[in-house]
């Protein structure tokens, strides 16, 4: 108990009350109600000894053993220690990624950080983040979304940041202290310690001591630091935190004073920090994504649109509520939003604001922290779906990677081109075949993208990812300038069934299901191909989260200053929404893709050819230009 003495002396010196003036032990029950028994209306969850997920909340030892086993048997999962908790326990982090720090294309890999268990009593949080790792691990061997993430993103997952506090809640899974405490105006008379431990375990032991317990030497039920108030830039700047060590929202003696918060910062450095693109701190309850607007308009908008995509996965049951710029409470989402300029959230897992009454609970004010065991399997699945979509989106917007056109019947290639990495931030276009395109000939067109572009339903049909509403078919046109310089455009048939689920279905595709598309087309006789000055493809397609193509694959998309860099729209301007790709020219007149001298092309599909073009219907020979390159 020696470690407690300084705190007690400091409190006395400050004229503050000792950490628990009055406290009675509470017991949570399903149906028994009495002065010290709280009936929740559903079975009180107890920690379950099971490594594999069950309809319940796993004990810490089993949860950690599960992750260690997955890591030891996986090429995509490894474990490190971020340091020790206040009471000296290791704080593990799991890195879900391949080991080359590069995307499948060879660009520097982005990173994302998921933090679980910062508030001890919020048991849904470690289960949900562990569920995400389990999903990735389960599906690592199949070439879908999960393997794409493992190979193109470094995902950092802290299952339980507040290890000491979490163990305290599991030590007393159905007990807590009901306090009477006047030093915490906003949060007085709330249950503390035991199952309701929120803070870390600074300056407290692991006993649950009621005021009338004669065996209780130190009544320290109120002690600890709120790790979600201990962060820059807004620590100690809000009425939602307190300098009183007994407060539920005590912000500690200095920013990052707590070893757990230092561990979180160490986790960010593993990204490394400069590669981070997303942060989520998993809490419960309220069913909402909180965020912090920083005043960086692009980052704030991207944070909102990312939240919109993730919320849609679960039918918008979760809300979104960012704090305005310049204010905060010292939370970790604020730290990552301001310090790293990335989308950062405090995700409050269900139940909703009214707590567990939505499951038939009896209305106890804190029952939202005690999610019924029967709900957690569903919640794990729903939030894995939502979070994986968010990670997929932040891994980067889609980009056209390769195109191939062949005569359908003979297999003769007429156009083969692919974008290939040229340096850390750029690609160059390699064109290996350019032969004349003829009217009234059947062709096959293959398109390859740099990520999986579609999801599949249970029957294997192309479908939207859960909750998304993206046009499933791409828009593909052949367009150009005819012999006289007039523009023309022909829309190609692009059925939804063109997406290829089998790996390697298309030459130059990466190796993920649905990262490639195949269609057939025949251009009508009226298409002014002969002598055309320029012929190019015009593609418009969004990935499965709704992000449109990078209109200029020459500059690889990255993240900088809170927004995308190198992400061009249809007019070539850098931004955050992408646009149509017109970079692939079957006949190249050498004009720039964008800006002065560039032709924005006709906006409508299937435009009629110009009169001069109609005069030149004879098929012209294509200048075989061999290897072209554009950066």
């Amino acid at each position: 108990m020696a470690a407690l003495k300084p705190l007690r002396l400091a409190l006395l010196a400050a004229g503050l009350p000792l950490v628990a003036a009055q406290a009675a032990e509470l017991r949570f029950t399903q149906n028994t109600s009495a002065a010290t028994s709280i009936a929740l209306g559903y079975p009180v969850p107890l920690p379950v000894d099971s490594q594999t997920p069950v309809d319940g909340f796993r004990g810490y030892a089993a949860l950690e053993a599960r992750l260690q086993d997955l890591a030891l048997g996986s090429d995509y999962l490894s474990r490190q220690s971020l340091g020790n908790s206040f009471r000296g326990r290791a704080i593990p982090i799991y890195l879900a990624s391949d080991d080359d720090a590069l995307t499948a294309e060879g660009f520097p890999e982005p990173a994302a950080l998921l933090n679980g268990g910062i508030h001890a009593r919020e048991w849904a949080s470690p289960e949900v983040v562990t569920g995400i790792v389990e999903r990735l691990s389960d599906k690592a061997s199949t070439p879908g979304l999960e393997r794409y993430l493992l190979e193109n993103l470094k995902l950092l997952v802290i299952p339980v940041l507040n290890v000491d506090g979490f163990l305290q809640t599991q030590r007393y899974p159905d007990r807590s202290l009901q306090t009477e405490f006047a030093g915490d105006p906003q949060n007085e008379n709330y249950p503390r310690d035991g199952r309701m431990q929120r803070k870390n375990m600074r300056d407290k032991d692991e006993l649950l001591c009621a005021a009338d317990d004669p065996g209780c030497a130190v009544r320290d039920g109120m002690a600890g630091v709120d790790l979600n108030r201990n962060n820059t830039p807004f620590r100690a700047s809000s009425t939602q935190s307190s300098g009183n060590p007994a407060s539920l929202v005590y912000h500690g003696t200095a920013a990052a004073s707590e070893p757990e918060v230092q561990a979180l910062q160490a986790a960010a450095a593993l990204g490394p920090a400069a590669r981070l693109r997303m942060y989520i701190d998993f809490h419960s309850f309220s069913r909402i994504y909180f965020g912090a607007d920083t005043g960086n308009a692009r980052r704030d908008a991207l944070q909102r649109s990312l939240a919109t995509a993730m919320r849609a996965v679960n039918g918008n049951a979760y809300g979104y509520d960012p704090t305005p710029p310049g204010v905060g409470i010292g939370s970790t989402d604020e730290h990552f939003a301001y310090t790293h300029q990335i989308p950062a959230y405090t995700l409050e897992i269900e139940p909703g604001p009214n707590g567990s009454s939505q499951y038939g609970g009896f209305g106890y004010s804190h029952d939202g922290f005690v999610l019924p065991a029967s709900e957690i399997a569903r919640v794990r699945g729903e939030l894995a779906d939502a979070t994986l979509l968010g990670l997929y989106r932040q891994a980067g917007p889609p980009s056209l990677r390769a195109v191939e056109i062949r005569e359908r019947d003979s297999g003769t290639p007429v156009f083969e081109a692919r974008w290939q990495q040229s340096d850390a931030g750029h690609r160059q276009l390699l064109v290996t075949t350019r032969a004349p395109l003829r009217a009234e000939v059947d062709y096959r067109l293959w398109l390859a993208f740099n990520k999986p572009m579609r999801a599949r339903d249970g029957g294997g049909a192309v479908a939207n990812y859960r909750g998304q509403s993206v046009a499933l078919a791409p828009s593909i046109r052949v367009e150009g300038l005819d012999r006289a310089g007039a523009s023309f455009s022909q829309t190609l048939s692009a059925p939804v069934t063109g997406w290829r689920s089998s790996v390697g279905a298309v030459p130059a595709a990466l190796h993920y299901g649905d990262d490639a598309y195949l269609t057939e087309f025949r251009l009508p006789t009226a298409t002014p191909l002969a002598g055309a000055r320029r012929i190019n493809l015009r593609l418009d397609v969004a990935d499965l989260s709704g992000q449109r193509l990078d209109a200029d694959p020459a500059s690889a998309v990255d993240w900088s200053g809170g927004a995308w860099s190198g992400y061009q729209g249809s007019d070539g301007s850098a931004g955050d929404v992408g646009g149509e790709d017109r970079s692939l020219r079957l006949v190249d007149d050498g004009s720039p893709l964008f800006g002065a001298g560039a032709d924005s092309g006709p906006s409508g599909g299937g435009g009629a050819p110009s009169l001069p073009a109609l005069l030149g219907l004879a098929l012209a020979g294509w200048a075989r230009r061999g290897w072209g390159a554009r950066r």
Partner: protein, 352 residues
Amino acid sequence: MPSTRLLWALLPCLLAAPVAAAERYSREQLERQLSGAESQQARQALARLEPAQLLPLIQQTLARIDRDPVPAEALLHRTLLRLREPGAPHDASGEKLLRSLLGYQPQVLVPPADPDHGRGLWVPAYDLAATARGTLAIWQRQDQEQAARGALLSRDAAALRSMQGAVLATVFGAASRGQLQALASSGPWPSAALAVLATRLGDEGLATTLLAQASDAELLDAIKPLASALTAAEAQGWLQQLVEQRPALASAALLAMGRLLPQQSQDYLLAQLDHPDRGSSSAQALAGAATPAVRAALADILDTAPDGPRLRRALLALHWMDDAAARSSLQAFVVAQARPAQLRSEVAAWLR
């Protein structure tokens, strides 16, 4: 009855204030309203009320709730909780009164209880509808348990069989062993009740029946108490069946097996080490055992097994033992040049 008179006397003061202009209150405002002397006196008076006086108090409060909803809702909430206590009266009229509260629209909103959840959210200060639902449910449960106890006393197995499993589980949990033995062969029983019967009687046959009929969730709840109630050999057999028949519960069953540890369990757990889904749980179960025989078996695997799940799980078992002897075995593995280099490197990291 002075306390009652005081409460009735205070009610007009509590409820006669003008209707609050806003329905939203900060937690501090709420506390201020409720910490006044009159509110405290009312609270003390409520505590002294006889149970029979609680339902009339609800009616009185409801009739005047619009005048000052904060103390009125607080009073209703406390009264509804008091009605849950054993001995509180509940008749048809009381149930009707409480049912009328199931659709109650809260008039007092506050930021949520957790300080992180207050950004723009407002929740009822008192969820009276859920509280009333809870009180009704507890009344119903009390009635059902009373009926079950009556049927138990009269040995009316047919009546008992018609009752809910959860109710029977509670009543069986407090029944005498003799009463339970009389019921053991009078099934079929709902799984929740059967689990209590099997556990209280330590009956392997009932445990087997339970395995055949219960859902995974019901079995999960039963694993620990039932395995403790059976003899070690019986528990080993039952858990082994669970592992084989209920894959979703295999991990929980293996970890429970680790607490038994007769020789049979050790052998079974060692044999499961290379199973893709069971190996890790077997390793954790063995780590909890840490007998000399287990240590020797694991050391042998470290020396001889090829790189694969069996070797990895043996390493994990020793890692999770986390004692000097286990660390020593792992240290020996790290320096054994003939052993797989990648694993030696990983284990070296554990030891750091």
